[in-house]
């Protein structure tokens, strides 16, 4: 069963990985993905970000994505933590931790979760720039990134 958390608070990468590894010696590979707020977006400086989400559906969508990953690869642990609310450049947004006996499964599962999360988890980013605040547009390359798992 995957760990799913949607929270305003920050998270600690080291602590989350320690929790996955604690008391076990059968894991061969741990892959983590951390997404951060960048100080540039759409070619403009970004001074702040607001992350809106759909409480209830967010958790359900992340759980569904995690379950698909667990059905597809031999995972020993999978954690998905996503923040919402007010964030600043350099802040952490999302963490995925995937553990498996083998490295390819851990890499693929973490990458799959991020690609699906981008297009299927109900989060919306609003960036503050010198021209004011604007909602971030969805990117076509995110649809393409998701599609490659369906063709595979």
């Amino acid at each position: 069963m995957a760990v799913i958390r949607v929270q305003a608070e920050d998270f600690d990468l080291g602590r989350e990985v320690d929790a996955v590894r604690a008391g076990r010696t059968d894991i061969g590979a741990v892959v983590t993905f951390t997404g951060l707020v960048r100080d540039m977006g759409g070619g403009q400086p970004v001074s702040a970000m607001e992350l809106e989400h759909y409480p209830g559906m967010t958790e359900a969508a992340l759980s569904q994505i995690a379950a698909e990953a667990e059905a597809r690869w031999p995972l020993q642990a999978l954690s998905v933590i996503h923040r919402y609310g007010a964030l600043n450049p350099g802040d952490q947004i999302v963490l995925v931790v995937a553990a498996s006996p083998h490295r390819a499964a851990a890499f693929d599962a973490a990458s799959f979760v991020m690609d699906y999360l981008k297009t299927r988890a109900p989060f919306w980013k609003k960036e503050t720039t010198p021209d004011g605040a604007r909602w971030v547009d969805a990117r076509e390359e995110d649809d393409a990134a998701e599609a490659r798992w369906r063709d595979a």
């Binding site: 997404g35 992350l51 809106e52 989400h53 759909y54 209830g56 559906m57 359900a60 996503h82 947004i93 999302v94 991020m114 999360l117 981008k118 297009t119 299927r120 988890a121 109900p122 989060f123 919306w124 980013k125 609003k126 909602w135 971030v136 547009d137 969805a138």
Partner: protein, 81 residues
């Protein structure tokens, strides 16, 4: 039926959610009813290629029936992660 709006749809309509009395049979019919209400609704639903819909917190589409649905959410394409 509870109707929710997120991101710029929420801002354009000026509400995060509202209760809607409707006999619309599909999402498409509900959208037509809402868009006919006022300019701010018409603006929010002007470009349906940029609108996504979830029924009871599951992604759905314009042709989905509304029978038994308690919660309809409209929002732009997601940009999390």
């Amino acid at each position: 039926m509870k109707v929710l709006y997120f991101a710029w749809m929420r801002e354009r309509i000026g509400l995060p959610s509202e209760n809607v009395e409707t006999s619309a049979g599909t999402v498409r019919a509900l959208v037509a009813e809402l868009a006919a209400r006022e300019e701010r609704y018409a603006a929010a639903f002007a470009d349906m290629r940029a609108v996504r819909v979830a029924l009871d917190q599951k992604m759905s589409d314009l042709d989905a029936p509304l029978d038994g649905v308690r919660e309809v959410a409209f929002f732009p394409p997601m940009t999390g992660g």
